[in-house]
Amino acid sequence: MADVTFTVDGKKLMAPAGTLLIDACRKAGIEIPAFCYYPGLSLQAACRMCVVRQEKVPKLQTACTTTVAEGQVFVTESPEIAQARKATIQLLLGNHPLDCPVCDAGGECELQDMTFKYGAGESLYVEAKQHREEQQWSPAVYFDRPRCILCYRCVRMCGEGMDVYALGIQNRGVTSVIAPNGGDHLDCEQCGMCIDACPVGALTSGSYRYKTRPWEMNHVSTVCTHCGDGCKVTLGVKQSNDGTEIVRADNRDKSGINGDFLCAKGRFGFDFVESSERLTKPLVRNAAGKLEPTTWEHALRVAGTKLKEIRDNQSGKTGGGDAIGVIGSNRTTNEENYLLQKFARTVLGTNNIDHDRSTDYVSFVQALAGHEGKIATLRETASAPAILLIGGNPTEEHPLLAWNLRTNVRLNHARLYVVNHETIKLERQAKAAQGVPPNGYKDVTTLLDQQQSEFAKAVMAEDSLLIIFGQEFRGAQLKSLVAWGLNRGNVRFAYLGDHSNSRGAADMGLLPDLLPGYVPVGEAGAFAQEYSGLPVKAGKSQAQIFDAAREGKLGALLVVGANPAKRAGVDPANLNGAFVIVLDLFPTETTALADVVFPAASLYEKTGTVTNTFGDVQLVKKAADHAGTKPDFEILVRLAGSMGVDVKTLVPFGKGGAVGDFGQSRGAQAGEADRHAVWLTANGLEPKVSPFDPLAVLDEIERLVPAYKLDRLNLFAGNDVSTEPGFVPVSAIASAGSEMIAPAHDGLFTSGELGRHSAYLSELNQYESRELAETAAD
C-alpha cells in the first residue's frame, strides 16, 4: 500500500498505509510497551499497555490495533499515558506476586521491566493476592498460575504458530486461567514455544527452571546440532568444575534463520554434552586387549606411528594408501570435513573416504550443476507465494521448515500443495493435497503434466513454484524431477536431508569419487595443483571399505564422529585386525572396536561453519567447553603432526613459505606462487596465526570451492549466507551411490547418538509415546 506520513512524538514518520502503529513506531526506534502484542500472531488488544494519545480522538488508543493513515498525530509518552500504563500494571499486579528474587524469569521479565519503568511498586489494591500452587503440565512445561498476566501469547503461539491448539483460556474475568488440553497436562509437540513467548515467569521450562539466574550466564549464539534445518540457538553458559556448562538453550535474540522458532530438540536437547558417558580421555588398546585411558601424546603417537607405518608399507597386502579407509561425520563442521578429506587424500594418500550418506546431495547438485539461482534458501520457504511439497514430513523431521510454511500460509496467503504417500500434518495448511502410493513418486511429474486432476491444474497454473522434496527422491528419480522443474521454469528447489551438516559433508567431499565442490577426483582441476600426491582413482565407498576389511585388505580405518558399526552393521570379526582410530563424543559400537579413541568436542564446543540442507552456511561459535575433549579439527591437525607432516600443507596458517612471495621470485607462471597468500591479499584478509584455527581452512574452502563464495560480513555477523550449487562444474562422470543412501528419519525427539545421550529428549520421547499409547487405547 502507498506510504502515508504521520507524526509520532513530534517526529514525521512514513509507513505503508494500514501498518500497525506499534510496528511503525518500533521500526522508527520508538518503543511502545506491550505484553499481548506479538509480531506475526493475531491481534488481541488484551493488555492495554500500548495505549497512546491520538489527536482528535477522545480516548487513549491501543497502538497494536491502530493502523496508520495520512496526517495522524500521536503522542506515545506523556504523564497521562504513563499514568494509564501504571494503572494497567497495578491491575496486572493484582494477583501477580512480587517475588522476582525467586522467580525463574527475574531479570528477563517484561512485567518486571515495565514495573521498573512506570513505577507501580505501590498499589491502590489492598486485597490479599490469591495464590495457586504451580503445576507441571509435561516434562517440558511448568505453569505458575498467579504469575500469568493473561496476555494470550502462549495460546496464540500454540494455536496459530504451531497448529497444535493445546492451550486455551477458561472461565471469565478474574477467574480466567490458561488451560492445557489434557485437563491437567499437555498433549502436544513439546516445542516449548509457549515458554518462549511468555513475557513473565508463568510458563517455565523443565530443563532450565531454578538452575541459575539469567544474568549469571553468558549467551552464545550458535547453530543447533540436531537436524538439517540449522536453527540459530542461543546457549546460556556458565563456568563449571570441568569447563563451561550449558545451562539453557533458547531462541533469545530471535535474529537467526529461525526467526521466532525453536523446536524441542534445539531447546531441550543440549544436555548430551553433559552426559556422564562422554569420553574425556584418549583411549588406547593395551597389550591385554582392553581400551585404557592414556595421555593425548601417547594416543597421538600410537595412532600416528601406525597410520604412517601402514601408509608407507608398500609390500604387504595391507599396506599403502589404498589399505586405509576414512569415514567422516554428518555433524562435524565444514572445516573439519574439508580437513579430513584433505588429510585422507594428501597425507594418507587415499580416496577411500566416505560418510554415512542419508541424503542424495550428489545427485541433487549434479542435477543443478550449471543452473544458477535455482536453489531455495530456508528463508524463501517463509515468503514464496507457491510451494509444492513432495514427500518428506517437515512437521516431524524439519520443524523449522514446517513453521515457515505455516507462517507463510497464514500471513502471506501462500499456496501450499502437498504430495505424499502418508497423511502429513501440513495438509491442514495446504490448498490442495494429492496422495500417491509409496513407490509412486516417480509418476508425480507425469501426473502434473497431464493436468487431469484439480490438484495438477492448480499447481501448473502457478506462475512461480518452490519445490521442496524429501528423501524419497534419489538418483535418477531426483534428477528427473529437477529436470522437469528446470524445464518448467521459474522454479526453485530444496532437498530435505537429515543431520546438521550432512549437506556440508557432501559439499566438502567426504566421498570416494568427488573432491570438495563435487569435483571428480579424476578431473581434479585446481585441486591437482593444490593437493600433492592426490590419487586420481576413485576410492572405496563405506560399504567397499568394509568389504575390503572382510577380505583382509584393510590396514587401518579412521572414523570421525560416526558409528558405522551400528549403522552399517559391521561385525568385529570381519575387520580382520585392521587398526581402527575413532574420534567421537561417546562410547559407541564403533569405539568398542577401536585401537585408539580420541574424545571429541561437540558442535557446541567448537568454532566453524555448517551448511544446512538448503545450502545456507552459518557460523558455529564455541559456547561450552568440556574438559578432556578437543575439537575434531585440532585432533586431525595433531594426528597429522604426529605423522611428521608439515602442518602448513594441511592448514594454510601463518605467512607462506617464502615471505611475501607473490610469485615474483620464481615467476607466477611457474605455478609455484603462494596461491593462498595471493588470494588472501586479493580478498583483503589476514593469514590466520594458528594451525588450530578452522577459519584458515574456511579461507581455503572459499578459494577452492566455487559454490562457497560466502558473504563474510553477513556470515560473521551471525547470519545465514547461501551457497550456489549452480557454480558446481557440470561433471562428465555421474557419481554412483544413490543406492547407498539410508535416511535417518529422526523425529521430534530423536537425534541419533546425540538423542540417545540426551536424558531430556529421552524423557520427552517416553512421555510422547505414553500419550500415543493412551490415545490408541481410547
Binding site: 497444535v164 491448539y165 493445546a166 492451550l167 486455551g168 483460556i169 477458561q170 472461565n171 471469565r172 488451560a179 492445557p180 488440553n181 498433549d187 500434518k425 491442514r428
Partner: protein
C-alpha cells in the same frame, strides 16, 4: 488431534430428536462453531449438565477441539459441568428483587433445603442457585425453577413451593 468427521449418528449420546436438531443447527451458520452455544444449552437441557461425553460429542459434531468447547463453556455461568437437582431453583438477587426481599427469600430456601449456592440436596431433587436478573422485575422478588417462574414471593411461600415440587418429584418416581 485433528478434528475428524465421523458418523456421530450411531454413537450419539443424545436423543434422536436432539441429534436431528443438532444436524440442522450445525449447517445453519456460515461458520460451524456458531452453533456451539445453542448446542450446549440444548445438550444441558437434555442431559442435565455438560458431561465429558457431551463436550466430546459437541466438539466432534462441530469439528473443533474439546479444549475449544471448554474455553467457551466455562465462560458462561448458566452452563454447568456437574449435575444439578431435578428441580434447579434459581433465586434472582439483582436490584429490584433485592429491594423487595430476595435475600430473605434466598436464605429461607437455604434453611429449608439445607444447601447453599450451587448446592444439591442429598436426594438429588433440588439444587439452589443465586442468579442475576431473570427479567421479572415488575413482580419482584422472583425465582425460576427450571423454566417455570414464581413471582411476588415472600419467605413464607417457600415451604409451599418446595412441597409442590417434592410431590411432583415423588409422582414422577411412582410413574417411572
Amino acid at each position: 488431534m485433528s478434528p475428524k468427521e465421523s458418523n456421530t449418528e450411531t454413537m450419539s449420546i443424545f436423543s434422536p430428536q436432539l441429534s436431528a436438531r443438532f444436524d440442522v443447527l450445525v449447517a445453519k451458520y456460515p461458520v460451524k462453531r456458531s452453533a456451539l452455544i445453542p448446542m450446549l444449552l440444548y445438550a444441558q437441557d437434555e442431559i442435565g449438565y455438560l458431561s465429558d461425553a457431551v463436550i466430546a460429542e459437541v466438539a466432534e459434531r462441530i469439528g473443533i477441539t474439546q479444549l475449544d468447547v471448554r474455553n467457551v463453556a466455562t465462560y458462561y455461568s448458566m452452563l454447568r459441568f456437574k449435575p444439578a437437582g431435578k428441580f434447579n431453583i434459581q433465586v434472582c438477587t439483582n436490584i429490584s428483587c433485592m429491594l423487595r426481599g430476595a435475600y430473605e427469600l434466598y436464605e429461607r430456601f437455604q434453611d429449608e433445603l439445607h444447601i447453599g449456592h450451587k448446592g444439591v440436596t442429598s436426594d438429588g431433587v433440588f439444587s439452589l442457585e443465586e442468579v442475576e436478573c431473570i427479567g421479572v422485575c415488575c413482580w419482584a422478588p422472583a425465582i425460576q425453577v427450571n423454566y417455570a417462574f414464581h413471582d411476588e414471593l415472600t419467605p413464607n411461600d417457600v415451604p409451599k413451593i418446595i412441597s409442590e415440587y417434592k410431590s411432583k418429584a415423588n409422582g414422577s418416581v411412582k410413574n417411572a
